[in-house]
Symmetry: C2
Subunit: 442 residues, 2 copies
């Protein structure tokens, strides 16, 4: 009888719901294999867990011969009878009557049982093997779940998904950190963010839009928190009263993401990531950047009033907030005008500051946003103030001449949320196929 | 009293659930405005519909003055009392006590009431205004809903979302139609598809993966069905018995997408798109390409056995299938080896053909997929047969040396599904910000 994978059951389901004495088909990778006279013990691993297969010569000589020659990480399917076993994982094992090998594995180039034995660069070179380690795979299961939670939040709150183009005719966020493309005979670039397009979505009549997609930054830096390509969770909302509405939205999304990760994968996260956050953040405190400067100054950190926070300042502030407010996460608001892009709305009564914010999670910026200037004349002035030429923004400016609602939005870095949630030391761990100035493969 | 947008109600909800005699706040764009002595009638439009505002001098002189000077497409909010009205849209109107203008519109550069009066190129130049026409906005509401339906199908069937990198070190699908990037000092490209990475996802242990994201093709063609950037709904699944499993998945996803679009937006689709498909396709017929050749030959169309179908052949085949099977949609299977990429699995008993398929919707390819070759030695041979050098595929080939399950997958073009569903004449209509050899803006 040939094994049919259509009747395959996942290990977790088999261990929790399988009936002893019945026959089942499982499939996956060989985690370990150990021969013992007329019996071969094979631990099979699939995405959901591990189960012991007992392959006895006196049950099936063919299966036993096959099992004897198995190598770790080979792909197999097995059919057999579920029996109780005190010795086995999960208290049950499968006595195999049939065994198929789909793919025999060569000896492995890296240790996949203990990721700490291999440097990260080499792990990434062998990413498809690195992820055979359940700890590493979990990072991406968490990210998938967080993206799902974010979308569900967006749907519930009237946001429409848009798919904006990543090939653009002009740099979105300023000239320096943008990749050029050879686009037939024209100059073109990779979008640094969907900023202008999500504003377009609001103005075009979608009112509220979101997009979860790639963003590209030609960051020449080699840090543990920068990538040249990352997944940006972007939102933009029209008809707001103030930038507090945008912060409410960001708070809603980020808390939904973290809540979902913990509720679905909390046990595994606890097992594999000793530094992870395991509680959903409560109401997120909001402090102005001026209060942040003061807190940092009281802690002996030098700050320049009117400047952005340094990454060291953000880290330190995270510690202070954790201590003073008991929160791993904090909104810092009203960033100085000189540290924000031209489209940011200024604070009406104090135009040195803006209606903008960053969200810091354990001392690292995971989101940035604010209210956008929607008044044509003011916007032209702000472009000029930044030393830019309004003529180069004609298309963008036109959007504000035919009815633009008050609006604001934010971008959230998916990998950064995962990195801070799980307590990873390097953002590359949180990206399936990280890109940096040195790395383009796999 | 200042209007708060937090208490705003959408028009559709107000018309269906609002209580006559109560006060409400609405906000949106001025659809039309018409003064009539001491009364100004303003039709306000938001994402959900239109409502008439009645602004009377004797209720609020301020509001009346403001209303008199309103221009179409200006953005406003109004507060007032809901009353019954036989003359008004939806049988109800709002008698306004307070009116705020957020953004006053200049005279419009294009006619947004009748999209047929403006050529598509100009409509796209003014995309943010073009979408103020509910017909045009609807296309993207449909796409958002189809993406949502696809994801829900994936979640229900054990697929994990992955975010693959779009910056790649080598061309994925062959050298010709790929965009180059200036990536620091290295040669780099834009991913033509996540093909190799979704296979990596399966092999790495996710077992089943999906991604909805941008794909880039340096297509120099100027046709009504090609874009240089589109949204690809990609899936890949391990532990399959045959490529029929992949077709079952594609059928599940595509039917879910179409079903959802019709169930959520059927009435509006009927109103705006006379050529739309308004019934969910039943079981999708599956015919081999050899049967397709024969059907086309009987219809007097010349075909070359062993070649791909021409776009004219696909169109004609769509008509025949519609007539013979009563289905607007059909799987054509077992494409010839010489027309498929190296990673396609050949038909075991007849290696001139492959375990692959295209899905045609109203005579246009909307998806392509198949079973992938997972046996290392066979794969090396197939790369050589295609005149390629296995050394250039070292990273990819390595994935098959350490345990690769039998697997297959497909890519579905989101814009093409929308185009065929709605009966649009040009794929640019179905893309928010279309890119082709000439167009990089907005």
């Amino acid at each position: 009888m040939a094994i049919s994978l259509r009747s395959r059951i996942h290990v977790a389901e088999l261990l929790s719901k399988g009936e002893v004495g019945k026959e089942y088909t499982v499939a996956g990778w060989v985690d370990t294999v150990r021969a013992h006279g007329g019996i071969v013990f094979v631990v099979l691993r699939d995405r959901t867990g591990k189960i012991q297969l007992v392959v006895k010569k006196n049950v099936s000589k063919d299966a036993w011969k096959t099992a004897k020659n198995l190598t770790p990480e080979s792909v197999i399917a097995a059919h057999g009878t579920l029996v109780e076993s005190k010795a086995a994982l999960g208290g049950r094992e499968l006595v195999v009557s049939e065994l198929v090998v789909y793919s025999k594995a060569d000896p492995l180039p890296i240790d996949i049982k203990d990721h700490s034995k291999t440097i990260l660069a080499k792990r990434l070179d062998w990413r498809f093997l690195d992820l055979r380690n359940p700890r590493n795979l979990l990072i991406f299961l968490v990210e998938a779940e967080m993206a799902r939670a974010a979308r569900e939040w967006f749907y519930e709150h009237g946001f429409v998904e848009i798919f904006t183009s990543k090939i653009v005719g002009a740099a979105t966020e300023g000239g320096a950190e943008v990749f050029s493309i050879v686009y037939f005979d024209k100059p073109a670039f990779l979008a640094q963010s969907p900023q202008l397009y999500k504003q377009m979505g609001v103005i075009a009549g979608f009112e509220r839009v979101f997009e979860i997609g790639p963003a590209f930054r030609a960051e020449p830096h080699h840090t543990t928190r920068h990538l040249t390509e990352y997944t940006s969770v972007d939102l933009e909302m029209g008809f707001i009263d103030s930038f507090e509405d945008v912060m409410d939205a960001v708070e809603g999304v980020v808390r939904a993401m973290i809540r979902r990760a913990i509720s679905v994968y909390g046990n595994q996260i606890r097992e594999y990531f000793p530094d992870a956050v395991l509680e959903e953040p409560k109401d997120i405190p909001r402090i102005t950047i001026r209060e942040a400067y003061k807190l940092l100054e009281s802690a002996g950190v030098e700050v320049e009033w009117g400047d952005d926070l340094s990454s060291e300042g953000e880290r330190k502030l995270g510690e202070i907030i954790e201590r003073e407010y008991g929160s791993p996460i904090v909104f810092v608001t009203e960033y100085p005008w000189r540290a924000r892009p031209f489209y940011t709305m200024k604070k009406p009564d104090d135009p040195e500051w803006t209606l903008s914010f960053d969200l810091l999670f354990r001392g690292l910026e995971i989101a940035t946003g604010g209210q956008r200037e929607h008044r044509y004349e003011v916007l032209v002035k702000q472009i000029e103030e930044k030393g830019l030429n309004p003529k180069n923004f004609e298309w963008y400016l036109n959007m504000f001449r035919y009815g633009a609602p008050p609006h604001g939005g934010a971008g959230i870095g998916l990998e950064r949320v995962a990195m801070q949630l799980l307590g990873l030391g390097n953002i590359r761990e949180a990206r399936l196929l990280p890109r940096d100035p040195e790395r383009l493969t796999p």
